[in-house]
């Protein structure tokens, strides 16, 4: 069973993202279940939603405790919500930003896509703010969770605005892996050693 957790702010469509992902998995022939953790529903409040995907009946209703994927629609949430709860070395994080690695996500597998810019460029907005959930889902599909076609079908069943499909496709193309700083550091340390050796030899 795969568990996907979505972190968003009220009004950004995090709960709907969980539903669309569940629908896409359902269209792929899987058994899925999507649920948001409901608190005081106010715009701007931190919202957690989850989707479970399995080949057999999903019988769990409890809070997601060991996410295989964590999707962060609004990077501010890294500061105000516990996005790493239950995550381990295998958990894949997907964040909406410009390829930066937040300090809290130092040691995790991280992918990034600039969903905000994708939507702003397309003019895909609701109530004055860029739509974040559909491009993030497109990026998620690239990571192998659901078929892009099933995702698009699920998006179409949920939203009538066709720009959502474009956004999902663009994000699907543009999502990238964010290198681990330590990995880069290690690599560059090795490189530095090589250089010193070369200099020493030369000297």
């Amino acid at each position: 069973m795969i568990e996907v957790r979505f972190h968003s702010r009220g009004g950004q469509g995090g709960a709907t993202a969980a539903k669309i992902l569940g629908m896409a998995a359902f269209l792929d022939g899987k058994y899925s279940a999507s649920l948001a953790v409901y608190g005081a529903e106010r715009r701007g409040a931190a919202v957690v939603a989850g989707t479970r995907i399995s080949d057999s009946e999903v019988r769990r209703y409890s809070n997601l405790k060991s996410p295989d994927y964590v999707v962060i629609l609004d990077p501010v949430l890294v500061e105000i919500a516990d996005v790493t709860e239950g995550a381990d070395a295998k958990t894949i994080f997907l964040i909406n930003n410009r390829g930066e690695r937040p300090a809290a996500l130092e040691d995790f597998i991280l992918y990034s896509v600039d969903a905000t810019t994708i939507s702003l460029d397309l003019g895909l907005k609701v109530a004055g703010t860029p739509v974040l959930n559909t491009p993030m889902l497109g990026a998620l599909a690239k990571l192998g969770l659901v078929k892009q076609n099933s995702l698009k079908k699920a998006i179409r069943q949920t939203y009538s605005e066709p720009k959502n499909i474009k956004a999902a496709d663009l994000a699907h193309e543009r999502v990238v892996r964010v290198q681990n700083r330590r990995f880069i550091l290690e690599e560059s340390e090795e490189f530095a050693e090589e250089v010193y050796e070369t200099i020493e030899e030369a000297v």
Partner: protein
Amino acid sequence: MVVAETKKQDRLSKNRINKAEYLLKGNSSCPGCTAMLAIRHILKAAGPDTFALVGACCAVVCEGVYPNTCMAIPTLDTAFACTAAMASGVRAAVRDRGINVIAIAGDGGTVDIGVQALSGAIERNDDFLYVCYDNEAYGNTGMQRSGSTPFGAVTTTTPFGKREDKKDIAAIIGAHNPPYMATACASYPIDLQRKVERALSIEGTKFIHVLAPCPPGWRISTDKAIEVGKLAVKSCSFFLYEMEERKIRMSKPSINAIKKPIPVREYYRVQGRFARMSDEEIEISQQKIDANIAYFREVCDL
């Protein structure tokens, strides 16, 4: 928690707004919420010697989650149907008239499920101020229609636009002939404060009906909420007045609006919830408004 002391004199001065805050920052309202804005001004007008009751409505959720609350005065949260009944109980216990008792509820909890308890309290003339802030739907549970939802408005239970008219709660309460009744709007805070002060100076059951535009519910952007409230008044969709001893005293913004109303179309145009109205329906609505204008013109001799 900052609660400044102000002299009663200062509070009643024209256009001087009490600097003290009894509704604290950090409450969990939606951005642009005019209901909480109205409550903030109501409490400023009332001052610190106040017990508040809050019905099951947006306001109670905006208070925040245990162990926090945004209310700096003693507050009792009530069940949905009985805000007025609980207020009667509080006043029966708190007999010092120097202490205000203010019951606050949404339109759902007043006009529908709460009207029985409110009617009973007024008939007994129990001494408290009842404020109904009206966002014209059940806002707290996701914008389902209430009796106060206007004709043509889309809500989640009137997905094709409401067929029925808005229940005129002010007229219903007026028919009880309470010692003081007023209508107000969150977009006119000074007018609202003056009405609260007037009400609190009178003994018995007082009622104030406050129109409170709701950005998510009315489908307007958060920075337009105040303007939309003014358009409601300017188009005579909502009238601002006071009533004492069966005599109606029109408030200035509505006197101007009655003399020169703007077409209701301009009020509807800026709200997504009226997007489904046909031209015929807008015309019907305009006619109803014109009839109301004629009525008030006659009654107030304008």
